[in-house]
């Protein structure tokens, strides 16, 4: 028998990157919010510069709930699904925003209009076969105010390339217009990033320092980045990284209207006899608790958003909540971000104290920023090089065929070259396809006996063509900068569990092909909102978090402004 809590206005499932943002506009409007978080609070004392613990043993990912519900995955229906050993996401107040790279991009205008812009410029037959891609139900201009709010509430460093139509070539000239500059200048450059920027300019490209949700200088009560490294899998030891745990969540708590419940493992969203959400059932320790609420916001990560809906079955929703359309789990994709190019330079790069978000980007080959008339794909990739090196991973460097993998010759090679390599990070347009989807695994269950998500997905020809094309560009860039050896990694095929996971609860005006409407509320359940990259129908060629956060703020603000209609209907 569940213990029933006092009713609240809004219950938010998950206080991570998106739930942690949404709570702020809600309490600002005077709404009472209960935030259910599966993990615990972590502090700066938890974030030691410890490569073994963070990168090899996957702390803190490995110690939380998510690791017991790792999705299974298979490339297509003819294969058996297998389960990876670790989950890409973590649980804690702040969620994965504690240990992410913190690259905080806005999407480009094209990403909202892939179908109509491709059709207009190249013809409808250029849309890849089997893709279910749609235009977003609104344009970049509509999301711009919310990008702005999140950038300032969290603290994002960067340099604008387009302020109200005025271009600045020090920033990304391909971005859409923004209302104003970033709240802070970009993270500092380094000898390595300057070298790469110079090389890109010689090629006629447009290098710029990328945006990061990391304070580059004092921001409010938080210090700027100290550049000690170790933040690609760890939290920040001085809270310079603008995770929601040190920004919007504590800010919202000041109102007294946000009740944070840690160690809350949500089992089900419960509906009433009218098919409306009436609250959330969760477990805390051995206790089963029911939290009634007027409105439910589902704000877990992409896999868990679909999973909780598919598990929340009732008479009105026999196939899972908000799934009478059969669209929950559809239009799933994860970013093609593998297939790096690795370079060896003939001199040290001085990258021992750097971080993944301290880098230089090239957007010339992303989205529709170049003419696709003579290529056989749409979209493209963002090229990114960054300063980030740690000793264990440095020792594991490729020997570029110049030395064996062990013994004295290997030792001599890594001693000479430990600080001379760099590996690019190329994020590519990835589209949704009819044959790529999420469902509940028929056999594999978590610790509590609940089915885990099964991923059935593979990259198609369009993604692989972009990968090959952008590898060419990346190699050209490294060689111009003086690289003496180049290694190109395989393009990959299987779309396994990823931090950059999209879809499953896609946003769109058509209720037959989308789970949530243009405001983020479910077509079939008007008082159920969904937050996260699971509502995104396109990926762009850049990290999803800031867009997911801007969407979360937008949905929360829409709820606050239409409270009576959504809560009482």
């Amino acid at each position: 028998m569940a213990t029933e809590m006092q009713k609240t206005d809004v219950v938010v499932i998950g206080l991570g990157a998106v739930g942690g943002v949404a709570v702020l506009p809600l309490v600002s409007a005077g709404l009472r919010v209960v935030g259910l978080e599966a993990g615990s609070w972590l502090s700066t004392r938890d974030f030691a510069p410890d490569e073994l613990r963070n990168n090899t043993r996957d702390w803190p990912q490995s110690v939380q709930k998510a690791n017991h519900e790792v999705p299974t995955s298979r490339a297509n229906e003819s294969e058996a699904a297998t389960q990876a050993s670790g989950h890409p996401m973590m649980n804690a107040v702040g969620g994965t925003s504690l240990h992410y790279w913190a690259q905080s991009w806005r999407l480009n205008p094209w990403d909202f209009k892939v179908v109509s812009e491709t059709t207009r410029r190249y013809g409808a037959n250029r849309l890849p076969a089997g893709s279910t891609v749609e235009d977003w139900p609104f344009a970049l201009e509509d999301l711009e105010p919310f990008y702005d709010k999140v950038e300032y509430a969290l603290g994002v460093s960067g340099i604008a390339g387009n302020v109200q139509g005025r271009l600045n070539s020090a920033g990304n000239i391909f971005e859409g217009p923004r209302a104003r500059e970033y709240p802070m200048p970009p993270l500092r450059s380094s000898g390595f990033t300057d070298m790469m920027s110079d090389a890109a300019r010689r090629l006629g490209w447009h290098p710029f320092q990328g945006p990061a949700a990391i304070a580059s200088q004092v921001y409010g009560t938080r210090p700027g980045c100290l550049y000690h490294g170790f933040c690609d899998r760890g939290g920040c030891h001085v809270s310079a990284k603008s995770s929601t745990a040190v920004t919007t969540i504590p800010e919202a708590m000041k109102s007294g209207l946000l009740d944070v419940v840690t160690h809350a493992r949500v089992m089900e969203i419960v509906t009433d006899s009218n098919g409306r959400a009436k609250g959330v059932q969760y477990q805390r320790g051995n206790e089963t608790i029911f939290q009634p609420a007027d409105v439910v916001l589902l704000a877990s990560h992409t896999y868990e958003n679909s999973r909780i809906l598919l598990l929340s079955k009732s008479g009105d929703f026999p196939n899972g909540l908000a799934n009478n359309s059969g669209q929950v789990g559809r239009h799933y994709f994860s970013h093609h971000q593998g297939a790096p190019v690795t370079a060896l330079f003939p001199h040290n790069l001085h990258n021992w104290y750097g971080l993944p978000a301290q880098g230089v980007a090239i957007d010339n080959w992303a989205d529709d920023n170049f003419d696709h008339s003579d290529v056989d794909f749409i979209g493209g990739g963002n090229l990114w090089v960054h300063t980030n090196r740690r000793p264990m991973s440095a020792a594991r460097m490729s020997t570029f065929g110049k030395a064996p993998g062990w013994g004295s010759d290997w030792k001599a090679f890594i001693m000479q070259n430990a600080d001379r390599t760099n590996s690019s990070y190329i994020q590519k347009t990835t589209l949704p396809y009819e044959s790529n989807y999420l469902d509940l695994d028929p056999t594999v269950k978590d610790r509590l006996g609940v089915p885990v998500i099964r991923i059935t997905a593979e990259y198609k020809e369009n993604e692989l063509k972009i990968a090959a094309f952008t590898q060419d560009k990346m190699e050209q860039w490294f060689r111009e900068a003086g690289a003496v050896e180049i290694l190109r990694s395989g393009l990959g095929r299987s779309m396994g569990p990823s931090t950059h996971a999209y879809g499953g609860t896609r946003m769109g005006n058509n209720p037959r092909t989308n789970v949530v409407d243009s405001t983020g509320f479910a077509h079939e359940v008007p008082n159920l909102g969904v937050l996260g990259a699971s509502v995104m129908g396109t990926s762009g060629a850049r990290n999803p978090t800031l867009t997911a956060q801007a969407l979360a703020w937008r949905t929360a603000e829409h709820l606050a402004q239409n409270w009576r209609r959504i809560a009482d209907a």
């Binding site: 700066t44 004392r45 974030f47 030691a48 510069p49 410890d50 490569e51 073994l52 090899t56 043993r57 500092r188 380094s190 000898g191 100290l226 550049y227 000690h228 490294g229 170790f230 030891h237 001085v238 040290n348 001085h350 021992w352 104290y353 750097g354 000793p391 264990m392 440095a394 020792a395 594991r396 993998g405 062990w406 013994g407 004295s408 290997w410 030792k411 001599a412 890594i414 001693m415 430990a418 600080d419």
Partner: protein, 236 residues
């Protein structure tokens, strides 16, 4: 978790070594905390060099949490071939990667304890079969030849395959040599010095980065930084 008792056969007789831990001997000599390991004495006589007025006559074994004496001899020799001590300076042996592995096999890597027992036995058995000698007493050239045979699956007796075992040990050699010294390896920062890594610190200025080659190594574990260290119960 079964320890394979056969793994001690035909190797040097452990009964000749007194059953004192290295730490106990060091404590007796008043030098607890000192680190002095001659590269010529990988396991035995570890403490003698720093023992005031001591002789080299007392054979001492380093204390292991899980490895048997015979396993430790084989593994120590394997690690020294993967990342050797040579003209370029000390290697995995001096960094005490073996201490890291031993400690991990009692904890985080406990599920691989038996894989180690079987794999080290297979290597030693092959050495005995081919040369009539334990692996750790072979010449470096003989050891390399045998390890290449392990790596290319020409030798049987492994759980899984020889190549997967070798790959695992290579991985743990890297972990043990280059991870934070807190975990028992990377002794004296040998691993970090080898790569030119100036060590963990709370931050790095632009000048630190620009002059990285001349930056004095920090010589500290992450857990020497007070921020990440719990206060001792009852005070220091």
């Amino acid at each position: 978790m079964a320890n394979n008792k056969n793994s001690t056969r035909n190797t040097s007789d452990p009964s000749t070594a007194p059953r004192f831990s290295r730490r106990a001997l060091l404590k007796q000599a008043g030098v607890v905390g000192a680190v002095a390991l001659g590269s010529s004495a990988p396991l035995a006589n570890a403490a003698s060099g720093s023992r005031p007025g001591g002789s080299n006559s007392i054979p001492v074994r380093e204390a292991f949490e899980t490895l048997t004496a015979a396993e430790s001899e084989t593994l120590d020799a394997v690690l020294d071939r993967i990342l050797p001590s040579d003209g370029n300076g000390p290697g995995a042996r001096e960094a005490r990667a073996i201490q890291f592995i031993d400690h991990a096999l009692a904890g985080y890597l406990a599920s691989q304890r038996n894989t180690y027992a079987i794999g080290l036995l297979a290597i030693d058995t092959a050495a005995q079969a081919q040369h009539g000698t334990p692996f750790h007493l072979l010449t470096p050239a003989q050891q390399d030849t045998l390890l290449k045979a392990v790596e290319s699956n020409e030798i049987g007796g492994f759980e899984g395959s020889g190549s997967s075992f070798f790959s695992m040990v290579r991985n743990h050699t890297i972990d043990g040599t280059f991870s934070d010294p807190y975990y028992g390896g990377n002794r004296d920062y040998i691993g970090w010095d080898m790569l030119g890594y100036p060590g963990v610190r709370m931050g790095a200025s632009p000048d630190d980065v620009r002059n990285e080659e001349n930056l004095a190594p920090s010589r500290q574990s992450a857990y020497d930084l007070p921020h990440f260290t719990k206060d001792p119960v009852g005070g220091a």
